[in-house]
């Protein structure tokens, strides 16, 4: 029997003929006709006119014919809603059929007929089918609930189908469970806040049991659902991991990837010193490697995911470099992804092999691949210092090939190598200059111009070279124009005598003939700098450049975390959050990795940080001294507030915040940093403000403010007096003492730097090690004037909490590195936890009650605060100054019970109950928090605030 003939009827009057055939008495003829209709439908012809005739064929014993009619119905019911009603009776009848296959077929098809009127008739049959004795009907009905919900969500809720669906999670048949889970997960996605998929240890246990028994697809639904669960503690997390790991040996790659997702997420909760944690890490590598022997499309999905996993946990695959070597027959999309991962895994141990491979790739035919390979060689040079020399010589070899795009790509990366290893490989400049004429891409031209400007003193004809670019100045892209401007100014500062004309030419081109505001502004700044104070200009333009970071294209940590929660899905393939490509509300809720038991692993999102910083200071009736403090806060806010606003544009350089900040402030070579694109766009617009009075004003205010602080602030945020952090003996004469404060929602580190050495200190910079709450400098350390011997300077450094997170011991420990022109010094200090208490930490009463109940009693800690001579109201006022909010007060038998809430910058809530007995100077404090480690430190804050 060949059906292809149905595709070939193209006669006129076809519809008319079909109509006649459909109404024929002969069964065979009818069937033939319906087949023709379906074939026409497939090719896209409109056969909706035949609706009544086709529906008439529905009443039949022939299952094949019935299925064909159903297919037609699903396609056209929407366009003929009134006629579709005609079909309802047959559906209802079929739902009663003794044959389960027919019952299921009816309920399955009915759900696909998206006509409002039909849905009402669907409810009764569906309800029956959900409780059908046959599992095949039940599993079909479960999916049908999701279909119905998509058409009419209200109806599904009103009819109580959701509860029936929830009951199906306990069904005896694994496939029914899996489909019910899939349906519930989908429905839950469109109600982000509903507690529909109420996952608790019992349901999780049921799911895990079904996991062992259901089909490969069912396993995927269940694993994807499990990934949304947050275990209560590390024990539960471990036991789930143990039951999920066998899935890593499944032949279906999707099952493996979904299992990896669950493990990656739940692993975060396990203590790192646990043996099991190490075992789990080891178990993850082999299945990931095995994924690379799947079909190419799946390899691509796997590689995109491995790219994320390698960024999150490089240790898993660090020994598996070889499997990522590109094979000759790999499709191009697999090749490009493998290359990406090779760069990430490159280390001193494997660099020789990697370089040999990369060199091989650079001679292939695919342009994109070759470019990426060349760029990869440059990245290796920057990442692994020992290999730099070999990388450079490899790149020179490649330049000799004279293949245009290879040369351009090589020059772009060599520029980065120069930045990383100054004064080492400049001997190759001559070779680079030979290829000047062949450069036609903006990025390569910009890189070459940067090199010429940077090393102008060593290139004899630098002025000629730059002049040649200047001829077509207006035809160049902005990137090249900006670079050319900076390069010529550099040249002028280095060789002022011969190049005066050139610099005037470029300045007038940039300021008078250009429409680009960035270019114009930069031109004006240089012009003024040069005309008012050439020495300052030299300091600014020729300033030493900060180091560039080793890794590029790292995904921002919060996004990475979200993507890890989406392993296996499209989001992980696109490396974008679902909201970027999914319409409407569906699936757009952000997923987070649960915090490690007790510690605070999840980094705070930037939005929260910003809204926190713009928050008004706490509403306390200010006393005299406090008023001064607050006023100053208000004034101080603008300059610090500019810092966070720069941040988003520096996405790639996020790790290198300090470097980026310094860079833009000093107006040096923005173009040279690896985050070039972003840096170039953002930096010039910030510069005028930064170079204008702002830093000076900031500093001045800081000084003034410190005076205010010295007077003391009775209420408001309690600031511990400065303590000595770094003795002069340990730091070649630099002494640092300091303290922390929270002002106007901004965390600040106040430091006094004293020079006890004989020589002047300059070039201060500061950086933090990763710490428990992700604290990081929100701007550069602003010590603008050199610090002369015996001079003390007070600086106030705004901090953000968006930095990388690592649990410290003790929790509030902060390791700091301070650099000056002499050396780098390290010290560690401890900050009061109250620093992290945010201004919007007042919880709703109802929420407080629910949360208090919700936190297990094991997490409660009790403390005694002794010798406090305050009544409960005064205490509560005082605490509020430090963002400890009293939500309710109850008096029972002469004892005041204060219920208080605190919110940390990383959105962890701490709840407290404080009992104050009149006349008794000892308070009892109970603290409850999901992360019990913090309790001790919260108690310390209470102690500190109440006693001072």
């Amino acid at each position: 029997m060949t059906d292809s003939k149905y595709f070939t009827t193209t006669k006129k009057g076809e519809i008319f003929e079909l109509k006649a055939e459909l109404n024929s008495d002969k069964k065979e003829k009818k069937k033939e006709a319906v087949k023709k209709v379906i074939a026409s439908m497939t090719v896209g012809k409109d056969v909706s006119a035949l609706f009544p005739d086709v529906v008439n064929c529905m009443q039949t014993d022939n299952l094949e014919l019935k299925k064909l009619v159903y297919l037609y119905l699903m396609n056209y019911a929407k366009s003929q809603p009134d006629m579709a009603i005609m079909a309802v009776n047959t559906f209802v009848k079929d739902c009663e059929d003794p044959n389960p296959l027919i019952r299921a077929l009816a309920v399955r098809t009915m759900g696909c007929i998206r006509v409002d009127k039909i849905t009402e008739y669907l409810c009764e049959p569906l309800r029956k089918c959900l409780k059908d004795e046959d599992p095949y009907v039940r599993k079909t009905a479960a999916v049908c609930v999701a279909k119905l919900h998509d058409i009419n969500a209200q109806l599904v809720e009103d009819q109580g189908f959701l509860d029936t669906l929830k009951d199906l999670i306990s069904d005896s048949n694994p496939m029914v469970v899996a489909n019910a889970v899939a349906a519930l997960s989908e429905i839950a996605e469109s109600h982000p806040n509903s507690n529909l998929l109420d996952l608790n240890p019992q349901t999780i246990n049921k799911l895990l049991t079904a996991l062992n028994e259901c089909t490969e697809w069912g396993q995927i639904f269940i694993l994807d659902c499990l990934a949304n669960y947050t275990p209560r503690d590390d024990r539960e997390s471990q036991s789930i991991c143990e039951r999920v790991t066998p899935r890593l040996s499944h032949a279906n790659s999707a099952v493996v990837l979904s299992a990896v997702k669950v493990l990656m997420k739940f692993m975060e909760m396990l203590p790192k010193d646990l043996d099991y944690y190490g075992t789990l890490l080891k178990k993850l590598a082999p299945p990931l490697v095995t994924l690379l022997s799947a079909e190419p499309e799946l390899q691509y999905v796997a590689l995109r995911n491995i790219n994320l996993i390698v960024q999150k946990r490089p240790e898993i695959l660090k020994h598996e470099m070889k499997v990522f070597f590109v094979k000759y027959n790999d499709p191009i999309y697999v090749k490009l992804e493998k290359l990406d991962i090779m760069i990430r895994l490159a280390s001193q141990a494997n660099i020789a092999q990697v370089l040999a491979e990369l060199k091989e790739y650079a001679t292939e035919v695919d342009v994109d691949f070759v470019r990426k390979a060349v760029r990869a060689i440059g990245r290796c040079a920057i990442k692994v210092e020992q290999s730099a020399e070999r990388c450079v010589s490899t790149l020179l070899d490649l330049i000799q090939t004279k293949v245009n795009y290879v040369v351009q790509e090589a020059i772009v990366v060599i520029k980065d190598i120069f930045r990383k290893y100054p004064n080492k490989y400049e001997s190759v400049i001559a070779t680079l200059c030979e290829n000047l004429d062949s450069l036609d891409e903006p990025e390569a031209r910009a890189a070459m111009i940067w090199i010429v400007g940077e090393y102008a003193e060593r290139i004899d004809n630098a002025d000629e070279l730059l002049e040649s670019f200047l001829e077509g100045f207006h035809d160049e892209s902005t990137q090249v124009q900006l670079q050319l401007l900076t390069a010529i100014v550099k040249l002028f500062l280095k060789k002022p005598t011969e190049t005066q004309e050139l610099v005037q030419q470029v300045l007038s081109l940039a300021t008078q003939d250009s429409d680009n505001p960035d270019l114009r502004d930069r031109g004006y700044i240089y012009w003024r700098l040069l005309s008012t104070d050439p020495v300052a200009a030299k300091e600014v333009v020729l300033a030493e450049k900060p180091l560039i970071s080793e890794e590029t294209d790292l995904i921002e940590p919060t996004l990475l975390e979200e993507l890890i929660c989406h392993i296996g899905t499209l989001a992980s393939v696109y490396h974008k959050p679902p909201s970027a490509f999914v319409e409407g509300s569906r699936g757009v809720q952000h997923r987070r990795i649960p915090p490690r038991a007790g510690s605070v692993e999840s980094a705070e999102s930037p939005e929260v940080g910003q809204s926190g910083s713009s928050e008004a200071p706490p509403a306390v009736i200010p006393s005299q001294g406090d008023l001064l403090g607050d006023l100053l806060n208000l004034d101080l806010a603008p300059p610090t507030a500019t810092v966070p606003s720069v941040q988003p544009s520096m996405q790639m350089g996020a790790m290198d915040l300090l470097g980026g900040g310094l860079d833009s402030l000093l107006g040096g070579d923005i173009g040279g940093s690896p985050s070039m694109g972003a840096g170039l766009g953002a930096a010039p617009t910030v510069m005028p403000a930064a170079l204008g009075g702002a830093p000076a004003v900031g500093g001045g205010l800081g000084d003034l403010f410190d005076l205010g602080g010295g007077v003391g602030m009775p209420t408001g945020f309690y600031v511990v007096p400065k303590t000595l952090w770094l003795p002069a003996m340990k730091a070649k004469g630099l002494e640092i003492s300091g303290t922390f404060a929270r002002r106007g929602g901004i965390i600040q580190m106040d430091m006094s730097l004293t020079n006890k050495a004989m020589s002047v200190m300059t070039d201060f910079a500061i950086q933090f090690n990763r710490n428990s709450f992700g604290m990081a400098p929100a701007g550069p350390l602003q010590v603008l004037t050199p610090l002369s011997p015996n001079q003390t300077i007070d600086v106030s450094l705004p901090l953000s909490t968006n930095g990388p997170v690592m649990k410290m011991e003790p929790l509030n420990n902060l390791q700091v590195a301070v650099k000056n022109n002499i050396d780098v010094f390290y010290f560690s200090c401890q900050f009061p936890l109250s620093l992290l208490f945010v201004e919007d930490g007042k919880m709703e009463r109802q929420v407080f009650l629910a949360t208090w109940k919700d936190i297990p009693n094991d997490n409660e800690a009790q403390f005694q605060i002794k010798d406090v001579h305050l009544n409960s109201d005064a205490a509560s006022n005082k605490l509020q100054g430090s963002n400890i909010f009293t939500i309710a007060k109850r008096t029972v038998e002469g004892q005041d019970m204060l219920y208080q809430s605190i919110k940390l910058t990383n959105s962890i809530w701490v709840l407290a109950e404080m009992r104050v007995q009149t006349g008794n100077p000892n308070y009892t404090l109970s603290i409850k928090c999901r992360a019990p480690e913090v309790c001790q430190f919260v108690y310390q804050c209470y102690e500190m605030v109440l006693k001072n």
């Binding site: 060949t2 059906d3 292809s4 087949k35 379906i38 497939t42 896209g44 094949e64 299925k67 064909l68 297919l71 044959n99 389960p100 296959l101 759900g111 998206r114 046959d134 599992p135 095949y136 999916v143 279909k147 998509d150 694994p174 496939m175 489909n179 899939a182 989908e186 062992n212 028994e213 089909t215 697809w217 995927i220 066998p246 899935r247 040996s249 499944h250 032949a251 279906n252 790659s253 999707a254 990837l257 979904s258 082999p286 490697v289 095995t290 079909e295 499309e297 691509y300 999905v301 094979k327 999309y333 989406h566 296996g568 499209l570 992980s572 393939v573 696109y574 490509f581 999914v582 319409e583």
Partner: protein, 436 residues
């Protein structure tokens, strides 16, 4: 979930179009044709996003299968499903071609209705599907038969139907390995790994419970520690065991049992299927060793001598041996002398190809060639690509041995002894290269 599924021919004409979700319109069909099938450049990704709609595609000969969605679906699952879909179609009507698809479009729609519900993949095991999607309608089924079908489709053993009967219970096990090698000119192994598959053809009656055992190091060591066997025996068997880096199993294998006891137990599908895949990197038996010797005589002549040594039991025979010796681009002429087989210089492939039909173990053979070069002013040295080799040997280079495959069927009256079992080992070369 999957919003729609389309099948196109090479021209971009739609052969099958099934839409599961309302958010996928008819224009999606055209969008894929215009942006992917008719695109001028080579396909750069198997996943394409066009106007917030994601298209997943795979190609089989000149047929395109595309799954479409607007949601954040499980991408790995979609591709696994598309492959599965191809398997199912192949099992029903053979090769996936335009003609076959057109001839079976009603069947394909029926299948699509069954294996994908609202975009969620359902049971897609051909064994189960063939029991009720037959193109003949459900007529003569009794009630028992019907419930048997539904319990199979939804049940724990979806890949096998009940009531299978064979007069002769028989099973075939093929251990198929591909051995990969990269060796330095000095004979040092730079990288080597074996990727293997165990393919089973089972013709067994009823619902047989099977247990598969191989010389997996972890299992053997565990047994050795059991204390019942004497230590010497434990040690000697330990030598013959192999370390498996990773393995994956067909869905019939009970994974949790493998995870806890490392035993491989299952109820097999009927007919041919892939029981497991594995990868090993340790103690690989390299069937051949290639010893190259290249000497440059002046600027216009190269002398090449290559010795191959077979490194396995003399009683075994390797077949289809082929050695490929690359020559420089400016080769003008080649003279070859070989002891065994035939050797030819193929100018179009820039290589000397030396073929030997059969070769026993522990033997060696040699080829020597004089390559004359055209003088060129190209300063670039010849990159000397590696010498590659192809062959087939009747043993498993990983050292894997099937220890047993036990069959239990309690309800029917046949036992493990009555089953006729066949085991075959085939080792083939993957990428087997020696640098020179």
């Amino acid at each position: 979930m999957i919003g729609g599924l389309f099948i196109y021919n090479h021209k971009g004409e739609v052969l099958i179009s099934r839409v599961y979700r309302d958010d996928i319109g008819r224009n999606a069909v055209d969008a894929f044709r215009v942006n992917v099938i008719h695109a001028r450049q080579q396909v750069r990704s198997p996943v394409t996003n066009i106007a917030r709609t994601s298209f997943f595609h795979v190609k089989r000969s000149n047929i395109w299968l595309a799954a479409v969605t607007k949601q954040n679906v499980n991408a790995a699952m979609v591709f696994e499903f598309l492959y599965k879909m191809c398997d199912v179609m192949t099992a029903y009507f053979g090769k996936i071609s335009e003609e076959n698809i057109k001839n079976n479009f009603v069947l394909i729609y029926e299948l699509l209705d069954e294996i994908l519900d609202f975009g969620y993949p359902q049971n897609s095991e051909t064994g189960a599907l063939k029991t009720f999607i037959t193109q003949q309608g459900i007529k003569g089924q009794t009630k028992e038969e019907q419930s048997q079908i539904t319990s199979q489709v939804t049940g724990q053993i979806g890949w096998r139907r009940e009531g299978i009967k064979y007069r002769r219970n028989e099973l075939f096990l093929d251990v198929l390995e591909s051995v990969n090698l990269l060796m330095s000119p000095q004979g040092q192994v730079l990288s080597a790994h074996v990727s293997g598959r165990v393919v089973m053809k089972s013709y067994l009656s009823g619902m047989p419970e099977c247990k598969f055992g191989m010389n997996d190091k972890i299992v053997i060591d565990k047994q050795g520690k059991g204390g019942t066997t004497d230590e010497a025996a434990g040690k000697s068997s330990g030598k013959q065991s192999i370390a498996i880096d990773d393995c994956t199993f067909h869905q019939c294998v009970r994974l949790s049992k493998f995870d806890s006891e490392r035993s491989i137990s299952f109820i097999p599908p009927d007919g041919e299927y892939e029981l497991m895949r594995y990868r090993t990197t340790k103690d690989i038996i390299l069937p051949f060793r290639v010893i190259p010797l290249v000497r440059e005589v002046g600027r216009t002549k190269l002398e090449v001598k290559v010795v191959i040594k077979s490194n396995f039991k003399p009683s075994l025979l390797a077949q289809k041996i082929e050695v490929r010796i690359p020559t420089p681009l400016n080769t003008s002429g080649v003279q070859v002398i070989c002891m065994k087989g035939k050797a030819k210089y193929k100018a179009s492939e820039n290589a000397i190809v030396w073929k030997i039909k059969r070769m026993a173990g522990m033997k060696e053979s040699q080829i020597s060639a004089e390559i004359e070069l055209l003088p060129t002013n190209d300063k670039k040295k010849w990159a000397r690509p590696p010498i590659s080799m192809n062959f087939e040997v009747p043993f498993a280079p990983s050292g894997l041995k099937v220890r047993y495959l036990k069959v239990f069927e309690s309800k029917l009256n046949y036992s493990d002894h009555d089953v006729i079992k066949w085991v075959r080992y085939i080792g083939r070369s993957g990428i087997y290269e020696t640098r020179c």
